[in-house]
Point group: C2
Chain length 497, copies 2
């Protein structure tokens, strides 16, 4: 923790020095997935951003309680408070119990997070797991006079809230007057809209219509919580009324996060987090990637290379590396070419890391490795600038290759330092599994053996021992390897796998 | 579903024909883990039993809703209703929020389930996720006059229940008079015991003491649900008041399952499941394996071979196979020798499966394969008799080897049948990943190449070409392989990995 970390706070719109409320403990809340469909790559990028932050804070010595929720109820179709519940709709379409939908996509989500080597959060609470807490929060907000019940639903009174707290719209940069004008102009026929005192108000508890499956008993009759409420209730429960960091995708700023702040203030006189972080979106050929845009990639399509935009598949670690090569607040454009370049770069770095153990030290270093290491930290401390940190890794890879080739020297002390630091930084902080090395071991063995066999065969042919040369070819066929003699020597390929 | 499946119902104590209430749908509830420590092998055996049943029912064409809960609150230390909450205690000892404990061990549990190739259930509900439902159930039971509140806790009135339903003890074979006598003789100083009208009564809602972290608002003040209640509430919610199958470990019969039946009847006039299945325990050298017995194996110790009772590690699939070689209602004794034998048997079967694709058919079969297949089904239909089914697989393996060696003939029709049926049965029903085949590919390649190289080296030495023989030895060293010349020929081992 002898590092000054600066993070860009969406409230205030500038980088601020990170100072936890109660060091060395850090409370971090991140909005997780709504589990009604497969997680797409845009979501993965958001979770990767906060995985990186979680890893870096842990690396710096903080004890982080990282809470990332699972939205398994209450998230309605238009992201506000009208339309059908996303999970209930999917359940209806697939003729399943909503919680079967939740389970299927939660299992899938965890699987993809695992492929990307994302650490599980410390707590993974669900909306349905906190109905009691949400009902209690609704009660408190009503007691403060900032919510009202109409016909079994409870709405947050944004106008009254604004009179008191004067900060609604601060996070998302929206003006309440414009919101009112805009909302007023919207179609008013959406269910529940006419129950609101003002169109900017939002539901914190919704009455369940007779056909609504997901429903709970409440003081206002059977219903379900508003989507925004769960995050306020769960962050308060597990991190306290005031906590350090709240993260999420940029698209959640409004209305979701704005509503969270209002609910927190209304309930507890604290807005919740001190720092709001927002991860930018993924684009595909310049357009936002999203389920509604119809251009969302599934991770599986990417790994298998089965998406029409791709010419081949890319490993999860390549994709992770690719994403980390952009700063989390920048948009990141997805294309075959960009992924291909990332794959080559990734290999360059892991190849160099694989050389580290075998490097020999000299009397002195031709390069200031200490300075280099502090620059890596400086990049990370500058609002998690992973692309700059990775650029430093490329520099290191170049140097390692030079050292390995004997063109450059490294002192014993520096060598020990980088032999420790580089793998730690790559694996623990960036979360990159060195799969080139891991998978490489088996492959390398086969490669090495094949090289030896080809040499022996060449030698047999040289001394005109064609019997041996034929035995070699036939024996290889039996283990599923086909030799290919060409102008540039003998190659081979596997015929079965 | 053209198979008559018989299952041993713990109520009634005999095998009954399985007839789902609403075919082809089947509702199955299984008591899952209390996530306050690593899952041990005894638990794994229970979950394997119901994974097998889930797979077999699905194989037969049933549409199974398989609900397995996660107990993340309410399970007190003595398994009844006194003592500290198991999760809260662990949280206190490790200075963590209880839900961090829950997350850690839930993640670990899912990981182990994955290693054993157990399918995720259709729904995996948590106790904390169903507080509202549990409170509602308590209310209903109180309305029926079968529970009473004392000082913020609510107790189930077993005596009154028994007067009305006359079946308390039927599942576990206990007599209520003896229970009363036994409980009365127990130490009465346990917290809450003196609040009960009768010592056999059990808590369905417990008042939270001031230091109790896990607490929820209820009509009876802040508290938490009794352990037994969650399963009644969740099975009713997801499977209905009457459903097909309830499973769990034998040790849960009393008091847990007995209490569930009573709660279900009291609330809804249905006992819940029609069939109760109980999986027997794992023993270690004849003694029950359990956390409290201090002889529990962790799956990791078994895979790594790091437990003092083991001489080597065994793969998850070997262990799965080992467990399936015992009937689920028999005890299964764990020993190094038994595992070793299972490993050999497992390899025998997968080796034969690996031969299947390359078998050549003849004019007629020397063996009645149709009869054989129906015997495999007969074994499974006889209360999931997996050891008998596996014995049939051994028979098949023997035959396959004979066919492969040309000593026995198989008709085209039969060959196609077993080429389809055996892998399906092994993988889909028994849930055995053919890892010998999968992992074998890479290893087989290296093995094959090494055999060729050793032959070439022997041949070089035979013609006294020691230069080549030395080059081979040195080249192998470079790829991390050490040759070992011995009396019985030349062997090799990897020096790095």
């Amino acid at each position: 923790m002898n590092q000054d970390l600066f993070l860009y706070n969406s409230i205030g719109g500038q980088k601020v020095k990170f100072e936890p409320i109660n060091p060395p403990f850090v409370g971090m809340y991140v909005c997780g997935p709504t589990v009604y469909s497969d997680v797409h790559l845009g979501n993965c990028r958001t979770f990767l951003t906060f995985d990186l932050l979680y890893r870096y804070l842990t690396h710096l010595g903080y004890k982080v309680r990282y809470v990332r929720n699972i939205t398994d109820a209450g998230h309605l179709e238009n992201d506000a408070d009208a339309g059908e519940d996303k999970i209930a709709k999917k359940a209806r379409l697939e003729e399943l119990e909503p919680m079967e939908i939740v389970q299927r996509y939660t299992v899938g989500f965890r699987h993809v997070m695992g492929l990307f080597n994302m650490l599980p959060p410390s707590i993974e609470p669900t909306a349905t797991g906190h109905i009691v807490e949400q009902i209690e929060m609704v009660k408190k907000i009503m007691e403060k006079g900032l919510a009202y019940e109409v016909n079994g639903s409870v709405y947050f009174d944004v106008i009254k809230y604004q009179e008191q707290f004067k900060n609604y719209g601060e996070l998302s940069g929206r003006k309440i007057d414009e919101l009112i004008a805009g909302a007023g102009a919207e179609k008013r026929t959406l269910e529940g809209q006419d129950e609101k005192r003002n169109p900017v108000d939002f539901a914190i508890w919704k009455k369940a219509s007779p056909y609504h499956i997901m429903r709970w008993v409440s003081p206002w009759g059977e219903g379900f919580p508003g989507w925004h409420l769960e995050c306020s209730a769960m962050s308060t429960k597990y991190l306290g009324e005031e906590f350090d960091i709240h993260g999420g995708g940029m698209d959640l700023k409004f209305p979701h996060h704005e509503a969270e702040i209002a609910q927190n203030n209304a309930c507890c006189n604290h807005g919740g987090p001190r720092i709001w972080l927002h991860s930018n979106m993924l684009t595909v050929n310049g357009k936002r990637m999203g389920k509604s845009e119809g251009n969302a990639f599934l991770p599986e399509e990417l790994f298998a290379g089965s998406h029409p935009l791709l010419t081949k598949g890319y490993s999860p670690m390549t994709v992770r590396f690719f994403m980390l090569q952009a700063h989390y607040r920048s948009t990141l454009d997805f294309s075959n070419e960009a992924l291909h370049a990332a794959e080559k770069g990734f290999k360059r770095i892991t190849d160099a890391v694989n050389l580290l153990a075998s490097l020999k030290s000299g009397v002195a270093s031709d390069f200031n490795w200490k300075q280099w290491e502090s620059e890596v930290y400086a990049a990370m401390n500058d609002d998690l600038n992973s692309p700059v940190a990775i650029a430093h890794l490329f520099e290191a890879a170049k140097r390692i290759n030079s050292i390995s080739e004997g063109k450059e020297s490294v002192s014993k002390e520096d060598l020990e330092r980088i032999q420790y630091f580089i793998p730690v930084f790559l694996q623990d902080v960036l979360g990159i599994r060195n799969e080139n090395m891991a998978a490489g071991n088996e492959e390398n063995t086969v490669d090495g053996l094949m090289q030896l066999i080809i040499n022996l065969r060449n030698e047999a042919r040289f001394r005109k021992d064609f019997q041996t040369s034929d035995i070699i070819r036939d024996s290889l066929k039996e283990v599923g390897i086909q030799l290919k003699d060409g102008k540039e020597g003998t190659g081979w390929e596997k015929t079965t796998s």
